[in-house]
Symmetry: C2
Subunit: 338 residues, 2 copies
């Protein structure tokens, strides 16, 4: 992981915008390539969570203007194609991921934003000067809507019992989302005390420190032997996915948002026999912003506690290292003043 | 497959009832053990779809009485345990499958029915003398609610585009159910003309005769390149499950009810990346009877066309053989007069 100088981005298409990044975040999913990518001389861009100020717009851009403070979801999308209209912005016909192909990563000084009208969302002007507000808004780029997607996909409804597998930033946002959606009981699985404490502030009614089969047993003890109606799988490992299926009740649903890295496949036979559903996937963040952003803006919903480390651009490699060894939960990269 | 003489069933528990079977059905899922079971001298009971007359009840049975014409769903269940109350009767804590352990199969002259109050549903008295009405009610034991479960699990809502994979009795009932739930378009995948004709009568707006990738391509052509919102997987083979996932749109849902016999696992990576959900499983028939039975009783819903072969008890082996070679769709076993 290194910080390098690259050419400034320029408009390439009339639907592009250029954003000078003020804040970027480092994501748990960034750690997969951090761990797996062999060192090479060329390198590639990375980062998919950023907020910044529009500095240039193409001729066809109409919803944002130079000077606007904007937020980008973790994929770009036109917000008008048939799949965006169905709420699956991550499958947008004109969309894609930051840092792939000729598209910039979000952890940098500036980004060329494709299909800017569909991608960028304007933030309240206050957020330029109110750093605490901006900090609360930053998780809207990914982890808050991703936790929300887990809760929605798992079918959390008022009165439901929910389990959240994973005490990372997404899992904690899943607690916040499940609680917001009216879950009567939110059981957080984790073992890091400071993270569990954030989980409690976010609405966890119970915490389970065991792992694997023991964790599922503990969930069953808390749920009259049934298991949970809704399980939010926010990790993606073989073990965490197995725990999710062990903790859900028959007829319940696992909502998964942790990028799956599975040694064995999904438990098809048990899913069928127990009527356990599986929904979710790469979170279509854009779909949820109109619903979630106003609540964060007015303080009803505050995911800021998941950001526990601030670095500048030169501190990005350190941020990866500390998130990798779990001494930091999630890093905010302060790139420039708005 | 043979017809054998076994002891008459007797009450064993105060919650049991004895039912003299008037009609039984042969299910596509009965063909799995028919094909796979090695011949042995002992044999085991089979059949899980039956209607009959109550001939004896235990001391604690209160909802059915001697002389009642009743229907049994394809699993028995107490209808009161926490999982039944959640609508997952197939996971009932006091439930189980017909023909397993010391429980009789449904293809026979009489059956001891455990937890009779929860299991048995009374039929309109007319059905004792009105053979056509009884014929229409018989598929409520399994295939009609199973097709309905596929449609509900796949998330069919008014205006949705649905695909049904499989032109067996369950698939055809899936067409009926999807149409009843308001699907604007119901695309049936199959190649048997007489079955496709039933599918059209049941509400299929389109039929696709291709298989596999070609079938999914045909679905995409019919859906502006998107695929279907909801896919009802009513077969359970490796190929049919693959076709289901290929035919569903990103963000859509596969509802599966075909007992899975998969050579390879579920497509976890594609499901996650495309936000394709998977729900369903062994259909909790009892859950749906209060909703579906009145509509069949008054003629609004008529699944009788899926029954295209009548046999008596001695004809059961022939019925299996003809369903196995697909020359019959689904057999009704006329066991005795009501």
């Amino acid at each position: 992981m290194r910080v390098d100088t690259v050419p400034d981005p320029v408009l390439r298409r009339p639907t592009d915008a250029i954003v000078r990044v003020t804040d970027a975040l480092v994501c748990g999913s960034d750690l997969w390539p951090y761990r797996d990518c062999p060192p090479d001389r060329v390198g590639s861009r990375i980062g998919h969570e950023f907020v910044g100020v529009v500095t240039d717009v193409g001729a066809e851009v109409s919803t944002v203007a130079v000077g606007d403070l904007v937020l980008a979801p973790f994929v770009y999308s036109d917000n008008t194609c048939p799949l965006c209209l169905k709420g699956v912005h991550t499958s947008c016909r004109n969309g894609g991921f930051w840092g792939s192909g000729d598209v910039d990563g979000g952890q940098g000084e500036a980004v060329r934003v494709p299909v800017a009208d569909g991608t960028l969302v304007r933030l309240p002007a206050d957020a330029a000067t109110d750093d605490a507000l901006r900090r609360s808004l930053l998780p809207l780029t990914d982890v808050l809507p991703t936790g929300h997607h887990a809760a929605v996909s798992a079918g959390v409804v008022p009165g439901a019992t929910a389990v959240v597998v994973g005490d990372g930033a997404v899992g904690l946002c899943g607690v916040l989302a499940a609680s917001r959606l009216g879950a009567e009981r939110v059981i957080l699985l984790g073992r890091n005390e400071s993270r569990l404490e954030i989980g409690r502030r976010f609405g966890a009614t119970d915490v389970v420190r065991e792992r694997g089969v023991a964790a599922a047993d503990a969930v069953k003890e808390l749920t009259d032997g049934l298991g949970a109606d809704a399980v939010l799988e926010c990790v993606g490992t073989t073990d965490s996915v197995a725990t999710a299926f062990a903790a859900v009740r028959d007829g319940g649903t696992v909502g998964w948002v942790g990028v799956p890295h599975l040694d064995k496949g999904l438990p098809a036979g048990a899913m069928f026999g127990r009527n356990v559903g599986l929904r979710g996937g790469v979170a279509p963040v854009r779909r949820y912003l109109d619903e979630l952003l106003p609540e964060v803006a007015d303080g009803r919903l505050d995911p800021a506690p998941v950001l526990d480390l601030d670095v500048d651009l030169d501190g990005v490699p350190d941020a990866y290292s500390r998130m990798d060894d779990r001494s930091a939960l999630k890093a905010r990269v302060r790139v420039s003043a708005p």
